[in-house]
Symmetry: D2
Subunit: 313 residues, 4 copies
């Protein structure tokens, strides 16, 4: 099938790359996401793709977008960060380029990249969780991307882990992403700083005494150095991550979980307490086989690689 283009459309930037059959990015362009309108974003995507097509011979284009994508892999039904509602992205782009175009949920694209070329390689029953600002999920079953009946499969950020729990932007309460995402990590650290400033001393120092100034990268950095407050925040998030994985294992029985997204940059600081929590919370551990859990291999480029490869499939 040769080369394909993958596009990762986020709230702040549009990144597109030419990806070969081994998952390597040969060329890459990047533009800011225009704030003006939905149409402008589609134009930027088209520009980026045309630019790359001018330089490489490609056989397909895959677009990964943070949102609900319809089952025909054509239209973004709803993308909270991009203000898209029923955006016919495939149709719009097909007017500008001659190769086949598919639209994918961005977490699906990331999962596929890990499945094909990264931490999920060799495991045909794979669940990939993206712990970013929120939580995204991608599921590979029997070696195929699982999309569900209507294209909304693996919206794992929004199953409930706490009845009457924290309010979620989706209008529900107690969604997993309020407990195990990057936003949750910051909430844990900030509330620790408010209630137990002695333990959060390192975090407060880094944030120059401003509780509201404690941020994710700061917590990750300090946790890697063993700072007690930062490690505590990771342990809280890891505990909820493990609980959520236990729910997913009860339903999906995968062979492996892969954890990606910004929170996973912490590596073992995250992974070890996640494993411990998962072991504590999974039903039937003493008589069932349990999946292993790994950190994702690709960082921010997983979306490009996966979207491109899914377009080739």
């Amino acid at each position: 099938m040769g080369l394909a283009i993958g596009v990762d459309v986020g709230g702040t930037k549009v990144a597109a790359g030419v990806v070969d059959e081994d998952g390597r990015i040969l060329d890459k362009v990047r533009y800011p996401t225009p704030a003006s309108s939905e149409a402008a974003t589609a134009d930027v995507i088209g520009d980026a793709v045309e630019e790359l097509i001018g330089r490489h011979e490609v056989s397909a284009v895959g677009i990964g977008a943070a949102g609900f994508v319809d089952e025909n892999r054509s239209t973004v039904l709803f993308a909270p960060n991009l203000a898209w509602r029923d955006e016919p992205l495939k149709e719009l782009l097909s007017q500008r380029v001659d190769v086949p175009v598919v639209v994918e949920n961005d977490a699906n694209a990331m999962a596929w990249a890990e499945y094909r070329f990264g931490a999920g390689r060799g495991e045909d029953y794979l669940v990939c969780i993206t712990l970013g600002t929120g939580i995204g999920g991608g599921i590979v079953l029997n070696g195929q991307m699982f999309r569900g009946k209507f294209g909304f499969g693996a919206e794992v950020g929004h199953f409930r882990v706490v009845p009457h729990g924290r309010r979620c932007g989706c209008g529900q309460r107690g969604c997993w992403e309020q407990y195990a995402s990057g936003r949750a990590l910051v909430a844990e650290a900030q509330d620790l700083a408010l209630t137990q400033p002695d333990i959060a001393e390192g975090l407060l120092k880094r944030a120059e005494g401003d509780v509201g100034g404690i941020e994710g990268a700061m917590i990750t950095d300090l946790a890697k150095q063993g700072d007690p407050g930062a490690v505590w925040a990771f342990e809280r998030v890891a505990d909820w991550t493990g609980q959520g994985l236990a729910t997913l294992a009860a339903i999906l029985d995968p062979g492996r979980f892969v954890l990606g997204g910004g929170v996973s940059d912490a590596g073992d600081v995250l992974l070890e307490p996640v494993l411990a929590s998962f072991r504590r919370n999974i039903t039937g551990r003493s008589f069932r086989k349990v999946p292993d859990i790994r950190i994702a291999e690709f960082g921010s480029e997983a979306g490009i690689i996966g979207a491109a490869d899914l377009a080739r499939v």
Copy 2:
């Protein structure tokens, strides 16, 4: 493929039937489950199957058992109610009969019966929930029985809905089956009778004043007659059922749910509040397509029908 035998192995009885290609049971035998030993149960299964094979020409045998079945559909790894551990059921039975034998989780068998011949017909993305003493689940994806990597998929009774919730026989806390099963229905009714005997008047009368004597069939019967205490118990269980279905919809995105098991005998008394709860709890209802929810068509024979048909597949 012609006729097949389905066997439903439960804690109290072994029921076997000859099933035709349209899902009809042509002949049926039934024996008590021997209390003596695991081996005795396998013998009874063998006897029942041989008895039916003596009367019909069958091409395959499917055994549905309440327990964890390995991915080769051969061995029951763990069956709490049958005291089985690593019981090689396929091997044992294959020594006695000449046709192919498969072993299936009983909830899978029931789901398959509904998918092929019942309330799930025509829907290739189907999740069937059995609300019995506990909760079982069966998932059909793209028209195929989903078993997961290791054969443990759809153990939906044991995802957590309440952190620090009610103790479950599995050793965990807050499992869904502690809130939305037949056992949960009885718990709701009994606790209502303890704390609000005025509302539970009808239930208490039927149980002759003995709170501990309130049973599932009694609650179903009274609820159908509109008894306030019984209806209240169903509403509590229905609320949790709807919450659990919302979690499953977020992950699996099916086209339809089918509710079976003893609790579903209540029909609309269960279904209507489940629908209301599901609508309240699913994320993104205003922009996504949502699955419908139906009551199962087969009762206690679903296990036989499904196990037989899965053996033919």
Copy 3:
């Protein structure tokens, strides 16, 4: 003891009144709370008191402030809305006026007003709950204002009702005031509008389609007219109110609860589901005597009346 002055210090206004021995306000002044500094607020309080002293012969001054007050009724240790930390209010005011001055928690003052002249009259074991933006509490035991060892008794807004629940401004999670206050009422209504706009139709219409524009007074107004979405929001808040009262009854065993604050303006729309929830949630209802629950008689003037009367005691 004759006349006394009561001062109610809030985040937006300072209101002071001359109160007679029957709890009537004879004269009243009101100034905006200065935004500039803590000292300025103390000055405004002094100005208001001097103005009233110039017109009436008073024997004592009581100041009710939303915050933690020390056990000597002298210093506001912490007042989140007034930016006070260790503000020596009694000392400051005593430099300007010749009569005795006491400082009280505002919820204590409101409770005392209800106990002496309002819905708590005649009941020497009284718990008064103020359901405002947050939740305040005042406890009368054996006819005396209960303040606890350090002056922090009855901080009932901050006992936990949901583990891992909604984040509270205090840094903890799941505090009662996140579930049963005016803020909680708005949260329930807004999230209903997001997830079930059909039920929230009336609320959305009143807020001109803007979910974020749904406010407390709007919900109260619509609920009194029977609007389904507004009534639903009240039922949610009332359910949590009743659960919290059941916790307080288990610990304090009062003879009566009085509910005040803005949420209580809804009257029976609030009271009836609170009573039902309380009955459901209190332990031992069938063999113990249970307190009754009433709506407060005084509205926003309770703080002035109670602070004045407590100064006389």
Copy 4:
């Protein structure tokens, strides 16, 4: 006032003692609680008291009973373990002895013993928690035993800490005593043995491999030796204990908590994680004074000592 008799009436034994003004037990008798009838238990109490009166000159008799006692300190309204309903204990005993008799809740008696002679000495705002099979509470306010309006104050075992939590014998769900009592300690240890037998190795060994055979004294003993599974169980119970104390501190603002009952036999193994949990969970720790927490000084004799002394008051 001289000597007084205290009686501790439990489900298995009736213990009575002669107590001097310094809280010392000078003489003591003990009988099994008759299983036959409520009347028989009252007879045994009478026999025990008469026996001691025959040997000492006493001025009063106090009876501590595990149950709800009316506000006149005369009648046991409900005692689950003794099958008493409206048992007029004071009247029955007054027919047999000539000195004044009072009836008290047993947890009140234990709290009073600690207040007058034990770990609560010198602290006029004291909350004593008895962590036994269930949880009992006794509150001293301003140096007086607090009983509430109807005599049911301090029923702290039954405030809710987990919505939809574990079922309680009282018919409610999520009561504190389901999480922080001796029964909870055993539940934690047993569920650990089921789900993580590797960590519970020491517990399982001591119970000879029988999960159901793990008992409270066993866990305490192993925890004192540092066994990981036993320590883990204590940490879970201590976490909930600290959360409950934080709720009580928000409402009652005591100067000290005293922890008694069988679980407190663990001493520092319990106390240290309770202190840590309390610090994490109390609101406003950075600006409020916080109570200290101590282990009770009296063991099983606290009930006798306190009941006797309360009879003298």
